[in-house]
Amino acid sequence: MTVDLRKDFVNYAKSLNAASEDKNIRTAISRAVTSYRNTVTETLERFPHTPALAEEVQEIKRQSMANLDNLLETAMASVERNKGKAFYAKDHQAALDIALGIIGKGKTVVKGKSMLGEELHLREYLEDNGNEVWETDLGEFILQLRKERPMHILSPSIHVPREQVAEVFTKFFGKVVPPDIAEEVKVVKEFLREKYFTADVGISGANVVAADTGAMVIIENEGNVRLATGAPPVHIVMVGVEKLVPTFQEAMKVAEVTWRYAQYGVPGYVNIVSGPSKTGDIEKVTTYGAHGPKEFYVIFVDNGRNEMAHEEKFSQALHCLRCGGCMYECPVFQVTAGHFGHTYMGGIGAIWTAFVSGGMEKAAPLVYSCLRCGRCVERCPMSINVPAMIGELRERVIYGKLEG
């Protein structure tokens, strides 16, 4: 069988060219890059221990990926011990089935931002199955209304200026929303506030998972995750198995390095959730669902990650903390944003596309648009050698090893 990728390359080149002519992308990314570089420099000066901590985290990640099966087993047992329910989803469909099985139909779901959610097309799947789903991260909410996919992993709607936000909000809310950022933030806050307290289910991802305690660490700034995971009676965490580390202490190290390279001295909120809400205040009888969710579910998603962990040349790609630093340094991303990507973006995204989200056919054009210039490696707190992996993937594409 022959896979003809020539048309894919032509179409992809067209989309990159169009993106590079988009003034919104150009302006937004230029602004973001300058601000990223300045803030990170300043933050690393304030917290000079960070690079050494990052090196420590590299080792934690290396060990964790080498020991993934055990960690998963431990973590699942911890979640159960905490009176939560743990699931393992081998692939994409299994993950969606488990989530739908818990949620059912006709429910209202509030969702925190999650790249895994994008990978699984979770919102669309739940909606297609008769649920009302709301993205609660402001950027994701904007994209939900615009029916677009994220253009950056941390700032998904980076390409949409306030005027266009006002336009889509005016249409959606049925009243004039001026192109004023504070006003725009306010209307969404009012709208979602009601959703949090009437929703049946809250869904979040997690930035790190400590296997020993079953603690899910979720970093955020808006406070939406806090509400989405605290107010509804059910909280579902959907998390990739690569987020597992052995201990709580190690999870804290990973979390600090993650937010530091995502340009925060410290984020607005760090949520640590390890089970359903409970109280023993009356007669020391433990009762679940005190103020927060009564039910707590964790779905550990594999979907190609384990295979990656076992590939010597690619397991390092699982160390990615999704801080987004590499994207700001990537000359291709700087002019095309998420168009240089499928679900995951940039050079590291091309690798994730090959193994986890899209497969080699989708990855091939991305793999060839990487400059292999290596500046992402300079920025990456995990020093992930993306150019080497890109080289390896090119070889696989050329010699027809498309399985990933």
């Binding site: 069988m1 022959t2 896979v3 003809d4 990728l5 020539r6 048309k7 390359f9 032509v10 080149a13 990159l16 060219n17 590079s20 000359p331 291709v332 700087q334 002019v335 095309t336 091939a364 060839y368 648009s369 990487c370 400059l371 292999r372 210039c373 290596g374 500046r375 490696v377 300079e378 080289g391 993937l393 090119r394 070889e395 696989r396 594409v397 050329i398 010699y399 027809g400 090893k401 498309l402």
Partner: protein, 326 residues
């Protein structure tokens, strides 16, 4: 499962494998710069061009063809075939190559001549493989043709060995990169000392002619040179020693911004945009006289210079050669 990739990849890889040059340039074309120099074929130090500077003007011609034609079309495959499909179609690559401006051809061809002259001036002795010199295969490595490269490098090594040299001096950082990091994995006993042109000049920089007046220049660090080979301070030392006023771009040394060159053959428009942005970034240094030390950076930045832009883009070799002539 077999994959059909954009034709340009087939053409380039096949050209390298069959003709020892990504664009199937003939040995006589590639080595014409050396005619008057009478370089020996044997010696301790081998001067290695890999034909890379010489092929730059032709790459642009190839890229122009790509930009203006739909890659799926019949015409395109004819154009792309260049020498590869000459026999099948009767289409002459010379026609395509003839569109290259004579001044560009002369300029890039003379870079090797200038490099050799500068090294001679500094008292270095070296040999050159002339007509027989083969391209390093760096693009096979870059584009994923590693299995083909394993066979190809054997032929390159044969030519290198003929020279009897122990040291290879590379003009292009891409050649230096593959000789240093890839060849040893593919060829048993590949134990040549790999140097770059910049290394050699740096060692004897005190002997370079000083500039008449303190010209201000800005260095575009090549990714391969700065990040893979760790050479960036050397460029500054060389320029300072001849009295240049070295300005720095916001992103430099190991943080240098790529010129866009590596994706030129598949994504020419985007490559161009990236080159343009880098030129702008370099000019933020306060100097519009850009110096680089890599053939692809030279070509990409030259293309990224806006029409009528006052910026000057030169290879370090070209800049230093002016001192030799004076």
């Amino acid at each position: 499962m077999e994959t059909k990739m954009p034709m340009v990849l087939d053409v380039i890889s096949e050209n390298i494998i069959k003709h020892g040059s990504p664009l199937a340039l003939k040995g006589s074309e590639v080595s014409s710069w050396a005619k008057e120099l009478d370089l020996p074929a044997k010696g301790d130090v081998l001067f290695y061009t890999g034909g890379e500077y010489q092929m730059l003007p032709f790459i642009d011609s190839l890229v122009k063809t790509i930009t203006h034609l739909d890659q799926g079309s019949k015409v395109f495959s004819m154009m792309m075939g260049a020498r590869n499909i000459l026999n099948k179609t009767g289409f002459s690559p010379e026609k395509m190559y003839a569109s290259v401006l004579a001044k560009d051809k002369d300029r890039y061809n003379s870079v090797c001549f200038k490099a050799a002259k500068v090294l001679k001036e500094l008292g270095y002795e070296f040999c050159y493989s002339g007509n027989e010199e083969l391209y390093s295969g760096a693009l096979l490595y870059e584009l994923g043709y590693l299995q083909d490269m394993e066979d190809y490098v054997k032929r390159v090594v044969e030519v290198i060995k003929k020279s009897g040299a122990k040291t290879i001096v590379c003009l292009s950082p891409h050649a230096a990169e593959v000789f240093k990091f890839v060849y040893p994995k593919m060829v048993e006993g590949f134990d040549f000392e790999i140097r770059t042109y910049v290394d050699l000049v740096w060692e004897r920089r005190d002997k370079l002619a000083k500039l008449q007046s303190a010209e201000s220049v800005v260095i575009h660090d090549s990714c391969r040179l700065a990040r893979e080979l760790g050479i960036h301070q050397e460029l500054r030392d060389i320029l300072v020693s001849i009295g240049a006023d070295v300005k720095e771009a916001p992103m430099n040394r190991e943080w240098t911004s790529c010129c866009g060159g590596p994706i030129k053959i598949l994504f020419p428009e985007l490559s161009h945009v990236i080159g343009e942005r880098r030129v702008t970034e370099l000019k933020e240094s306060g100097s519009a006289h850009i110096l680089t030390s890599c053939p692809y950076c030279l070509s990409a930045l030259e293309a990224g210079r806006a029409k009528g832009d006052s910026a000057v883009v030169e290879d370090l070799i070209e800049f230093l050669y002016r001192g030799v002539k004076a």
